[in-house]
Every structure is written in C-alpha cells, then in structure tokens.
C-alpha cells in the first residue's frame, strides 16, 4: 500500500508507482504540469525513474490566470 499526500490531500494506492505512473493515473499525461516531491522539483526527465514511497508529499501545479 502506497500512502502519499497530493496537493495536501492524503491518497492511497494499492501498489508501488513512479511519478510518471501517478501522472497517468490522474489523467495528466501530456499536460503542462510541474511536480515537486518533498520540497524538491522532480524534473520531467526523471518522472519515469522516480519511485514514490509512503509518506511522500507531492505538489502538482499548473499555470492559471493571474496578474
């Protein structure tokens, strides 16, 4: 069981996931997003090789309207 926080919300997943697999599960593949894991940026090139572990805190962001 993988227990992580995504954008402040606790989420559980039945099996181990990479960042890329999580992005696919959330429907964000190919979208312009950025991922931070435990305060550090996970570069796009690392999404496929970065395994999530229980206790990880992720931030997934997009660009929105702003001044």
């Amino acid at each position: 069981m993988l227990e992580i926080k995504i954008n402040g919300e606790a989420r559980q997943f039945p099996e181990a996931l990479t960042v890329a697999e999580l992005i696919a599960l959330l429907g964000y593949t190919g979208k312009r997003i950025a991922v931070e894991r435990n305060g550090e940026i996970v570069a796009k090139s690392q999404h496929g090789s970065t395994w999530l572990v229980s206790g990880d805190a992720l931030e997934i962001v997009v660009a929105v309207g702003g001044g």
Binding site: A34, I41, V61, V62, A63, V64, G66
Partner: protein, 260 residues
C-alpha cells in the same frame, strides 16, 4: 524608437498584462491580442485532483510559443514560498528563467513585504532566474533589488487591483532617475490616462491586469491601454514643454491684428 529590453531580450510592446479575472479563456485571449502585449503573467496553482483533467488549460489559449509567459508568485507571503513557486514554474515552462517575484505583506493591502522580497530575490538570482520584481516605490530598496541582480524593478503606482492610478509620481521619478534596469509600473493603473502618465514619467513599461479585465468592455480597454502606453512613451521621448504657472503665452501672432 528603442524597444523595451529585459535581460537582453527586446520586446515589441511596453505593455505587460495579466491573465486573471477574465470570464473565460476566449475573453483573455481577445483582450491580450487587443493589448498588443508580448509578455503575459500567469499564476501557479495546485491542480484540482479529481476534477476532469481534460478541461482547457490557460497555456492552450496563450501558447508559450507565441507569448513570453511570466509566472508570478501572487499569494506568497514568505521568501521560501515564492522561491518554491518559481522553481515549479521554471519546471512547468521548460527551464524558462524569466519570472515575476512578489512577496506580499498582508491580504488587505497586498503591499509588498520588502525584507522577504529582497531575501527571495537574492536566492532566485543566485539560482539563475531573471527576476522582475514587484516592490514598494521606495527608491532605496528599488536600488537594492537592482544591485542584487534583478532584471527589472516594478514599483506599485497604487494598491494592486485598486485602479487608483499614479499616487506618487515623485517617488517613481526618483526610482527611474536612479535605475539602470527597466522600471515597470506594476499595479494601480485604472484607465488609459494612468498608463500614459506612468510612461510620461519615464517608466520603461506598465504591467496591469484588473484595469483591463474589470473594464465593462475588456477588449476595448486593452486597445485603449495599448494606445495610452504608446502615447505616454512618445510624449516622454518628445519632451514636454515647460510649465508656465503665472502667465499665458498666445499661440496666435500678436502682430497684424485688424484695426490696429
């Protein structure tokens, strides 16, 4: 006429616009097209997990291939949050280093917290960002930001979203006269004459959002702002006539009047 040049890149327009507070992305795009702006600001926010991920994205309406996207740190109250936000923004925008730093002091005035702003600027400049910085209209702190290595200083003309116009032209002039980087008025412009006044003072550009987005007709106001900025810039370059406080000076010849 010289173009606005920031961190070595020249931009066709001296008007920079925000993308907030519009009804939808179609209106955002129409207003930005009417403004002629090439630099547009965006905010960075959490994705809505669980919401339909196929919803349209702002950057589909404003592709980074057509616009210079300027990510901001709106809503950040500490240097650390601002730095984190811009690192995410740089990742989001494929390494693009230009950013707008703003560290706010309180939610009522949205006035900048200058100690935190200076701290964040130092970290970001060291980290390779090209920092355009929202700041108070204090000429000393504006100079400090320039000395840290910020690529543009962006003092407020009045409070963000207030539409109160240029409240302290003297401070802006002190900043402009001292600066060796572009000075861009950020915040407070309400209508086209405010933009023209900022440019007549010698500002290098004006950044605005609410004045356009909350006009009754945002697309028409965007066009008016474009002209206001251009008119103000030309008037600044032309050099205004001196003010004569206590006497008139007729425009028509005083000689050759009939019956004399």
């Amino acid at each position: 006429m010289h173009q606005l040049t920031i961190a070595g890149t020249a931009y066709a327009s001296r008007l920079l616009v925000g993308t907030g507070k519009y009804r939808d992305f179609a209106e955002t795009r129409a207003a930005i097209d009417a403004s002629g702006s090439s630099i547009v600001t965006v905010a960075i926010r959490r994705t809505n997990i669980g919401q339909d991920p196929s919803q349209p994205n702002l950057l589909d309406a404003l592709p980074p291939s057509q616009f210079t996207i300027l990510p901001n740190t709106a809503g950040c109250y500490t240097a650390d949050d601002a730095v984190r936000t811009l690192r995410l923004a740089r990742e989001l925008l494929d390494g693009h280093p230009l950013c707008k730093l703003e560290v706010l002091g309180d939610p009522t005035s949205l006035f900048p917290n200058m100690p935190e702003t200076l701290k964040a600027a130092e970290t970001l400049v060291r980290d390779g960002f090209h920092v355009m910085v929202y700041c108070s209209d204090d000429p000393i702190q504006a100079k400090m930001l320039e000395e840290i290595g910020c690529v543009a200083v962006m003092p407020l003309a009045s409070l963000i979203g207030s539409g109160m116009g240029i409240l302290n032209p003297w401070n802006l002039r002190l900043i402009i006269d001292n600066a060796r980087v572009p000075v861009i008025v950020d915040a407070g412009v309400g209508t086209a004459s405010d933009a023209a006044i900022a440019m007549e003072l010698g500002c290098d550009g004006v950044l605005m959002n609410t004045a356009i987005a909350h006009a009754k007709n945002p697309v028409l106001m965007a066009s008016a702002m474009k002209k206001g900025v251009e008119a103000g810039r030309e008037a600044y370059l032309a050099g205004r006539m001196p003010r004569k406080l206590y006497s008139a000076d007729p425009s028509s010849p005083t000689a050759g009047l009939i019956g004399s």
